[in-house]
Symmetry: C2
């Protein structure tokens, strides 16, 4: 796959040329840590293929899921970290095999002025992530999504006659008109509460559920 | 009050001079709409005194509380709107009398390069809001804050022997180690559900509660 395939429509031709000239491709295998907390960010990634899971640490050491990055998406947090020349406060893990285009951080600033499409990309990324988080918060507070999720899982178990459900977090999110982040969080809570066990694309409902 | 009192430590002296030279003071009375959805943002506000409530519209027309701005804070959303030269997607209302310093949007860009303190201010604002939202989401999902809030209100009512409680959302947030945004959201849900009535710094518990 050419890098231009997934991001060529995002940027003006002159910027695409620079991106190709100064950046480099990086791959990561499923489960691989791409960037860890405390590391210095020297490159800003744009995902070409696959999915990256971005998390931060809670003060209590618990991992806190922020969002997933898919093809043609950049990381909102790495923008702010790079721009402040700060150490990473986030952890990025390849949730499945990924290809990324890595852009050295020293270009981020000058491109903000030079290329309107870059400024738009950075600002849009920040804004979208922000809205996503906000809608997730609103949905959880207002719609009792935990209850809807539990009903959904029980119903699915009844229909299939099985306690092990073959369903991904993404599918559930689509079915419940929610986001994968929220569903993952609620499933994790069910696991913490001893109600389910979570496997890759499988959920086992325990007796207590 | 001098504008320099609340924001002088944020910016380097050269930038403070520019801010004073190109900006202007604006005041708004409690309840006044400062910026509405669809308006073009010509100025970027920094709050000097008072509190501004920032909301957006849900697709269903419901107002969605984003955050509150206090002294020395800028609006994360107005940065992205300004930088994209977009119409405002947010509504800002004076929650109490406010004084703001309004900076014409045309300076935002060049200051990002010229003044490290400005770049830091913008990026820090975005990042802080983002983390705040994230922690709020986590707290609601993991801690069953709705249950804790209900218990808290019942307990307060029992102690005082009254069904009208003199307490602000901020005080409740402090008592429950939560954020005002989340508490306001949960109280609003209780009101929607016919459990309470909300007044300024007062909450009336209804029979159903």
């Amino acid at each position: 796959m050419e890098i231009t395939d997934s991001i060529k429509d995002l940027f003006e031709p002159e910027l695409m040329e620079e991106i190709l000239a100064v950046g480099k491709k990086k791959t990561a295998k499923e489960g691989e840590v791409i960037i860890n907390i405390g590391q210095r960010l020297l490159f800003m990634p744009i995902v070409l293929q696959g999915t990256v899971k971005v998390s931060m640490m809670q003060p209590d050491g618990r991992e806190l899921l922020m969002y997933y990055l898919s093809a043609s998406e950049g990381c909102a947090m790495s923008f702010t970290c790079c721009m402040q020349e700060a150490k990473s406060e986030i952890m990025a893990i390849a949730e499945e095999d990924v290809e990324m285009w890595m852009i050295p951080v020293e270009y981020m600033d000058s491109w903000m002025h030079k290329y309107p499409s870059w400024k738009s990309f950075v600002m849009r990324t920040m804004q979208n992530r922000f809205y996503e988080m906000l809608r997730a918060l609103d949905m959880v507070v207002f719609n009792g999504l935990d209850v809807r999720l539990a009903n959904y899982l029980r119903e699915k178990s009844k229909i299939t006659g099985k306690t092990v459900l073959n369903v991904s977090h993404e599918e559930i999110a689509n079915d419940l008109a929610s986001s994968r982040v929220v569903i993952s969080r609620l499933l994790k809570k069910l696991e913490n509460d001893g109600k389910v066990l979570l496997y890759r694309n499988q959920i086992k409902l325990l007796k207590d559920f």
